[in-house]
């Protein structure tokens, strides 16, 4: 059973099902906005207009429930039934297209003036806009009312940090930092890479750790991941923060190399790791030496693990020349292992495709683009959302095969 208590287990990086001190959690506000907030014991959490409450109120609570704030105390609310829900598009639709339900804005009046309309025409329009509201269908009125309600409600929901929700949150918040990877594309990456409990994966993740987090979450840590980055420091994977993993448990399943240490002919420039005989060291210096040795040993161990090969899949979301990446890392894949490369542009994958299909080691490279459509399903008002994301990224996938010619004859 999922429970935060066994997060330290080497084989399990379970998702926390209750909120604990120090967790970063996602909250959905009445206007649909999702915000991340750190729950520190004994602190006060402020949600702006929605109100403030004591963090301790949340600690120990399960994820996924809704609350209302009353005098800094939380009251658990029943989930909203469909008839109580405002339009999915309420905000966008009214702002972009539905100006007609609002009186003329200052900008509109300015525009009318500039367009040579007489003052009388402007006043007429103003009146019309108001009249308009009373003429609107029940449907529109309801929308307007609900939007007003959303503005003033004190309701919020703790979002369960599933991979889907975390990806969706980042895609809305800052799609550039996750390289435009939308929920559908991320899901396809996991399936195309045959991510399964017990698997070993090589991941190049310049998507703020989204791909690494997704694999870890999908497998509850029952896996081994080597991630390759481009920096001399361990990679900053801000997405991973939302998973609230135990650091020690994480270190057991996830190791990192960079493009230099991932080279087989890499010669570390490091100093002797054992104390130089005859030198006197302070305790701190000794501790530093030890730490260096531990770090260096870890890199050496990860290198050996990478070079030993036999990995079950390669997932790439990187800004660098993707053909080079695939060429450098595919030797460490087992035969029949999938290769999945993501890009927010089509053109680099087109080039990658043209290069890979020249090489027999890569079977059947294919490029796909995800297409996703969300619908509003309120009674009598079913339609796709009026606004949507234009692009959720592109994928190239292929299968690594062995080029050695094995003949067979009947």
């Amino acid at each position: 059973m999922d429970n935060g208590s066994d997060a330290g287990n080497a084989h399990h990086l379970c998702r926390n099902s209750t909120i604990q001190h120090g967790h970063t959690v996602l909250l959905k506000l009445p206007n649909g906005e999702v915000r991340s907030i750190k729950v520190e014991k004994d602190s006060t959490l402020s949600l702006g207009r929605v109100g403030s409450f004591f963090a301790n109120e949340l600690i120990g609570q399960p994820y996924g429930l809704s609350y209302e704030i009353h005098d800094r105390k939380l009251k658990r609310l029943p989930p909203l039934a469909m008839q109580d829900i405002a339009e999915t598009d309420a905000t966008n639709e009214l702002i972009n297209d539905g100006d007609f339900v609002q009186p003329l804005s200052v900008a509109e009046i300015e525009d009318m003036k500039k367009s040579g309309f007489h003052a009388s025409e402007i006043i007429k329009t103003q009146i019309e806009q108001h009249a308009n509201y009373s003429l609107k269908t029940e449907y529109s009125k309801e929308k307007y009312k609900q939007r007003k309600e959303a503005k003033y409600s004190k309701r919020f929901e703790i979002i369960e940090p599933t991979m889907y929700e975390v990806c969706d949150y980042w895609f809305r918040k800052d799609h550039h930092r996750i390289r435009d990877i939308r929920t559908d594309t991320l899901s396809q990456m996991l399936n195309l890479a045959n991510v399964r409990p017990g698997g070993k994966y090589i991941i190049v993740d310049e998507a703020s750790g989204l791909v690494v987090s997704a694999v870890l979450d999908r497998l509850g840590g029952e896996c081994r991941i080597i991630s390759i980055n481009d920096s001399d420091s361990p990679p900053a994977y801000p997405v991973l923060n939302l998973m609230n993993y135990d650091k020690k448990g994480l270190a057991k399943v996830l190791s990192t190399l960079n493009w230099s240490t991932a080279q087989e002919d890499h010669v570390p420039v490091h100093a002797p790791l054992d104390p130089t005989p005859g030198c006197i060291y302070s305790e701190r210096q000794r501790a530093r030496l030890d730490k260096r040795k531990v770090a260096s040993d870890a890199v050496m161990k990860t290198r050996s693990e990478l070079f030993a090969g036999g990995f079950d899949g390669l997932l790439v979301a990187s800004e660098y020349d993707s053909f080079q990446i695939v060429e450098v890392l595919s030797p460490y894949l087992a035969g029949s292992a999938p290769i999945v490369v993501q890009n927010q542009f089509l053109q680099p994958l087109t080039g990658l495709h043209a290069q890979m299909r020249q090489i027999p080691r890569y079977l059947a490279p294919s490029i796909t683009e995800g297409w996703l459509r969300r619908y509003q399903v309120l009674p009598g008002r079913t339609h796709p959302t009026m606004n949507t994301s234009g692009s959720g990224g592109f994928l190239l996938h292929a299968i690594k095969v062995c080029v050695a010619n094995i003949p067979s004859v009947v």
Binding site: K114, S115, I127, E283
Partner: protein, 369 residues
């Protein structure tokens, strides 16, 4: 419709293009000024210049483009009275309904007039648009707009509830377009208005699926055939000029230099610390010494990084040999329109059964035109 002469004249409605997001109509009125954050302009200075001119504000605050209105530009510039129709829908509906030079078309309701302008342009003076608007003030505004745009001979606007009262013409329209909340209430009236001497067509424009299901049913019951439904959208692509992706070689050489630099620094620090220890050998507590030295070292390591060292949050893409080459890559814009309305189409076929009592078995007849 809008004048076609090459130069701007007094009384013309022109389109002032300031930015892609700021496009607005202007009625050229000598004596008036046009003021915006892109400068101040006299209307009279615009008279006589060719359409399509770039005009610079003499005070140097900017420039504008003075364009000839088209229905497409008008749609980007018009004052929204209702949710408007956009290019993809208008274009597709026009084609499917076979609206051409000379067609006689019915639309209900007029709304913001986006469809009306496009259809009036297409049918021209030989055709006609019968436009119906339920809402009185909105109808009045549209009527004035049509006059201002010189469309009064092409468009007949009627303030009218077509669901209740039907259309003002009978047996004469080539095509009917219904942008109404309950199009099924107008389908019967539409059939009356369509001419019966040739194939005619109808389109219902409805945002919700439930409306489609009811409209389809009503069309079928009214005897319309070939009922089909479409959705169409434009996916706008944006082009970006980006640096050519860096080779891994650049990263590796940078990481190597970085490692070497760090190691040299560390050795320097050890040497320094050793020298200090030898110099200060009278001090008996090396641990304390080290403790004092530690923050310095830590600060030094953290604070005096060479410019090559990366902030771990910003991958270091730049290199000594800066990559000057760029590529033009494109992708669909991040946020796009995902839905406008469902377009339900149908045809009305002039089968003789309509006028004969024994259509089923009647032999071949030729309709006279």
């Amino acid at each position: 419709m809008w004048p076609t002469q090459r130069e701007v004249a007094a009384g013309d409605v022109v389109i002032i293009w300031q930015t892609r997001e700021l496009i607005q109509p202007l009625l050229i009125t000598p004596g008036k000024d046009f003021n915006s954050r892109f400068g101040h302009y006299r209307h009279s200075d615009l008279i006589g210049i060719p359409y399509g001119s770039k005009v610079t504000s003499r005070n140097g605050r900017g420039f504008i483009h003075v364009l000839r209105p088209t229905p497409e530009l008008w749609t980007m510039a018009l004052p929204h009275r209702t949710q408007i129709l956009y290019l993809a829908d208008i274009a597709f509906i026009t084609s499917w309904l076979d609206i051409r030079c000379g067609s006689r078309v019915i639309e209900a309701g007029t709304g913001s007039g986006s469809f009306s302008h496009s259809i009036a342009r297409t049918v021209g003076p030989r055709g006609h648009l019968y436009s119906y608007e339920f809402h009185e003030a909105r109808a009045e505004m549209a009527r004035e707009e049509f006059v201002r745009h010189g469309m009064q001979d092409i468009v007949t606007l009627t303030h009218h509830n077509v669901c209740k009262d039907g259309f003002t013409v009978e047996n004469m329209a080539d095509a009917v377009f219904l942008d109404l909340p309950a199009p099924w209430e107008a389908v019967g009236h539409a059939k009356k208005a369509l001419r019966k001497d040739r194939l005619t067509r109808i389109c219902c424009f409805s945002p919700c699926m439930e409306q489609v299901l009811r409209a389809v049913n009503a069309l079928n019951e009214a005897g319309f055939t070939d009922i089909c439904m479409y959705e169409t959208l434009l996916r706008p692509h944006e082009v970006q000029q980006l640096p050519t992706p860096l080779s891994l070689d650049n990263v590796v050489s940078k990481l190597k230099r970085l490692e070497k630099f760090r190691e040299e620094k560390r050795l320097r620090q050890i040497a320094n610390s050793k020298r200090k220890r030898e110099e200060d050998s009278d001090i008996p507590e090396p641990d304390k010494r080290a403790r004092i030295g530690e923050p310095d070292t830590a600060r030094d390591e953290g604070g005096s990084r060479p410019p090559l060292i990366s902030d771990p949050h910003i991958p270091p893409k730049a290199d000594d040999e800066v990559n000057e080459a760029t590529v033009s890559w494109s992708r669909v814009c991040h946020e796009v329109r995902g839905h406008t309305s469902y377009l339900t189409f149908a045809r009305l076929v002039p089968y003789p059964a309509e006028t004969s009592s024994n259509g089923e078995t009647e032999g071949l007849t030729t309709t006279s035109e």
